[in-house]
């Protein structure tokens, strides 16, 4: 029986957030705390000729100014990346140093040159203006493709042509070319999947606190993965002992991938604190966030899809240039390769696929995972190809998809589906989600409306996107073979207290996803106890043994499964204690609704009773350890594969080119659902971000590598009045390989929505013969297309 699982339980964590009692990093004040301000390069590429800190240091209240020279002389290392991708010829990718403060050259606008530490935020800021840096501006390159051309300015001297790696996946090129040569029709699209800025509303912040008395360090930081940050910082950057370092990611105000990266500022505040023997706090303002938070996407691609005369796909060829920015972020090398190339099978039976990716350094801020990470780029490419091909072949886009869908399979009685690009899909029913979406839209009726609207001079359009994603990254051995430098399991500890209350420690990290509720639902149901008796603890390396954090929609599938493993151990041990108390054999007991009952009798012992006995083991099974506390590592057998069908309906104002999103329908299959309210919320948020990319958002760099829309006055964030209410529904195909049957819901909305919206606009514009426009589909772009 379930009391909680599957129910829209209101969130436990909300109480503190709605009363203003959340505790975010910048809310934390430590005794004797100093404040850091970072002096940053205004140029995208410049030689640093001199740094004069004397005027700043002379100011009252300034504690110290450190420069790149101090960092270089300290002998510490730079920021590492968490993933290695090799060149096709087997050479290791280029991994240039990423110092905490640069001393020789600035490589992107915002590169850190010096840090001022002062008694107050105000003094630090004022002193920052008095640090005199002399630069020699050098030519810069911001565009990935241009950066690989001969004569382009080099970001790093030891990365010729700015290449980090080149990489290939799928069937050999010759095989794909052969298949394509026989195609009846080839649809070709070239596009830019533009750079977007994650813009978590909480700006990044970090406090470093070194305590001399104990030689211990504490880092409070806005991180999605505090343990990973600790590992990278201790082992690779500062060389300080990991057991002396506590990393706390308290309440974190959104991440969307941008807070995975172990940022230089995190190590910097710890390093400064160690030098000054005082806590050091740094909090970014929004301008700084625009300049220095890891950005997302930024691919330039050419994609070709071949079809036979019946519309069956015969082959897919993709060439992508991926902009990695000036240095490598934690996941940078993985995103455009293993999270992108592997998704190019989509939902289709494409028999031959080749993807070729070039990873490129440019004079721009680092790129890392951004909601979906690689999968939205792959989906965009496939789903734009599908709608464009349908238009070109004069077929219905829905029919074209149906013709090519992989048939339904449950992954239990039927095997998984082996793709051409390394993955084995676990279970799926792709027709199901599309059918439901069409029903919700009223497809046939819409096509009639559209026809009438065209006669009335109105431009209506409908766009589709049927997507799949690979989530819950993933089996450690597999990702290790693919270049991950860490395992990707998760840790879950369940500590039953003597009174039967339960503390659960998870290595997952919630920054909006609602772990404290969803995980508690799972625990309470499995143990048959009230949710109030369960506390979920996360984000503190001191209390949680280890963890990999939250990204890639992995929390419940991986982190939740680790907890379930521990719960199983609790129940198993509890049965031994219960058997002893009931003077029954363990095999004769069954555990349900919080008690162990001798089968077929009314003799039972409750969970609380067993818990107490475990800690007060006066009458206790011989040879059994006291206590009821288990920790488990769950390493998944496979990725999980959520999928869905999204449909957008838009209207284009012919006079201005402005696109209005009228309706958005999403039917997603994320496997089993623990809390439908939270899952819906995840979908909504994802949709807004995907729609934002399609219509509004995009970082704009000028040819000198200057980010020219680095503020909310210039970068368009989706607002309440830019979006409609969403129409969403769900299908459930359980994940066959994790104990909860869950697949992950955090990124689905973002992955599916972007191409649906763009396809809808292209459909609206089809009377003008327009096939492709670059995102974001700003009014001017649309207007120009209609008038050229």
């Amino acid at each position: 029986m379930t009391n909680y699982i599957g129910k829209a339980v209101k969130r436990v964590e909300d109480k503190r957030f709605i009363t203003g009692k959340g505790r975010y990093t910048d809310d934390i004040v430590l005794p004797g705390m100093t404040h850091a301000y970072i002096v940053r390069s205004p140029y995208a590429h410049a030689r640093i000729l001199s740094v004069d800190t004397s005027a700043a240091e002379a100011m009252e209240g300034v504690v110290k100014v450190f420069t790149g020279k101090d960092i270089a002389e300290s002998g510490i290392n730079g920021i590492p990346t968490g993933w290695q991708v090799n060149f096709k010829n087997g050479d290791t990718m280029k991994e240039p140093p990423h110092p905490l403060l640069v001393s020789d050259k600035a490589r992107y606008m915002g590169d850190a040159v010096a840090v001022v530490i002062a008694e107050s935020r105000e003094i630090a800021r004022d002193a920052g203006d008095r640090v005199e840096v002399e630069y020699e501006e050098l030519p810069a390159v911001a565009d990935a493709k241009k950066a690989t051309e001969a004569g382009a300015p080099l970001v790093h001297d030891d990365a010729p042509n700015n290449l980090c790696f080149d990489w290939e996946l799928g069937n050999p090129k010759a095989e794909v070319n052969e298949a394509m040569s026989k195609a009846h029709h080839i649809t070709t699209l070239e596009f830019v999947n533009q750079r977007v800025i994650p813009n978590a509303i909480e700006p990044r912040s970090a406090i470093g606190h070194f305590e001399e008395s104990s030689d211990k360090y504490t880092l409070y930081t806005t991180s999605q993965n505090p343990h990973l940050t600790r590992l990278l910082m201790c082992a690779f950057v500062l060389g300080i002992p990991e057991h002396k370092v506590r990393v706390v990611a308290p309440d974190v105000g959104g991440g969307f991938g941008s807070k995975i990266f172990h940022y230089a500022e995190e190590a910097l505040v710890i390093w400064c604190s160690q030098r000054l023997k005082r806590p050091v706090k740094w909090t970014a303002d929004r301008s700084e966030a625009f300049m220095t938070d890891a950005h997302g996407r930024d691919h330039v691609s050419k994609a070709e899809m071949g079809f036979d005369q019946n519309g069956k796909i015969v082959g897919l060829r993709v060439k992508t240039y991926a902009n990695l920015g000036a240095y490598l972020s934690t996941f940078a090398p993985c995103v455009p390769t293993w999270l992108h190339g592997t998704l190019l099978q989509g939902l289709y039976t494409t028999p031959k696929i080749n993807v070729d990716v070039t990873g490129v350094f440019t004079h721009t801020v680092m790129v890392d995972a951004y909601r979906g990470a690689g999968r939205p780029e792959a989906t965009y490419l496939l789903e734009r190809l599908m709608d464009t091909a349908a238009l070109e072949m004069k077929m219905d886009p829905v029919e074209l998809r149906r013709k090519n869908f992989i048939p339904a399979f449950d992954g239990v009685t039927q095997p998984g589906y082996q793709t051409q690009v390394a993955l084995q899909y676990d279970s799926g029913n792709y027709h199901g989600v599309l059918d439901r979406a069409l029903e919700m839209v009223g497809y046939e009726k819409f096509r009639k409306e559209q026809e009438q609207a065209r006669k009335d001079g109105k431009l209506l359009g409908i766009g589709f996107s049927t997507y799949i994603e690979a989530c819950g990254i993933a089996p450690s051995a597999v990702v290790g073979a693919l270049g991950a430098r860490a395992g990707l399991y998760e840790v879950g500890q369940v500590r039953v207290q003597p009174t039967g209350k339960v503390s659960v420690y998870t290595g997952s990290h919630s920054h909006g996803q609602g772990h404290e509720t969803t995980f508690a639902q799972v625990v309470a149901d499995r143990l048959g106890i009230p949710m109030d008796d369960v506390e979920i603890i996360h984000g503190d390396s001191e209390s949680v043994a280890f963890g990999m954090g939250t990204y890639g929609s992995r929390s419940l599938a991986v982190g939740g499964s680790a907890i379930v493993k521990s719960l199983d151990k609790i129940i198993e041990k509890g049965a031994k204690i219960a058997a002893h108390k009931l003077e029954a054999s363990e095999e004769d007991l069954e555990f349900a609704e919080g008690k162990w009952t001798v089968k077929g009798t009314d003799k039972s012992v409750g969970f609380g009773d067993v818990a107490l006995t475990a800690y007060v083991p006066h009458n206790y099974p011989a040879g059994l350890e006291p206590g009821l506390d288990f920790s488990s590592f769950y390493d998944p057998a496979n990725f999980t594969y959520p999928f869905g069908a999204h449909v957008a309906i838009v209207e284009v104002d012919q006079e201005t080119g402005k696109v209005r999103l009228k309706r958005f329908i999403a039917v997603d299959d994320v496997g089993n659902v623990i809390n439908p309210m939270i899952v819906d919320g995840q979908i909504h948020g994802g949709l807004a971000q995907g729609i934002g990319q399609a219509l509004l958002e995009g970082a704009v760099y000028d040819e000198n590598g200057q980010l020219i829309n680095g503020s909310y006055m210039d970068y368009t964030m989706p607002r309440a009045d830019d979006l409609p209410s969403f129409e969403i529904d769900r299908q459930v195909t359980p994940c066959p390989h994790n104990p909860l049957g869950v697949k992950g819901a955090g990124e689905a909305g973002t992955i599916g929505s972007t191409p649906a919206v763009v396809n809808a606009v292209m459909d609206a514009l089809s009377p003008f013969g327009i096939k492709n426009l670059e995102m974001p589909l700003t009014p001017e772009r649309v207007w120009r297309a209609m008038n050229s």
Binding site: E13, R16, T19, D26, A200, G253, H684, A720
Partner: protein, 161 residues
Amino acid sequence: MAKKIQVTVNGKAYSHDVDPRTLLVQYLRDVLGLTGTHVGCDTSNCGACTILVDGQAVKSCTLLAVQADGSEVKTIEGMADNGTLHPLQEGFREEHGLQCGFCTPGMIMASADLLERNPNPTEHEIREALEGNFCRCTGYHNIVKSVQYAAKKISKQEKVA
């Protein structure tokens, strides 16, 4: 340099000497320790710092503390009444109008201004009234529902009263 200000915050009177450049949000957070009001941007766009000053929603990052001298300020910490959640707080919880919680205080305060002026807003009116508040998590869908929930609840309470 420093100016003396007197403000009433959530019903409690305070008097402090402040540097004129201190923004009201910094005064609330750093001096009064009311960290429920957040700072999300530096261009007065995101609305995370929204509070009520003399009953009207304002962005406390775009108001100097000295400008608020003599004013009545209400922050998220002052919304609940003796432990009873304000209908908006309840609405955000009931309708899952928040995820990471960072924009939530500002969102609730801006909604309070709206419901004061327009106790029965349409979806369109809610979306327009919240154009000065960014949320990156929810896609706004459930925020709209949260405000509708509160509007309904308040109108019921008033009928009873």
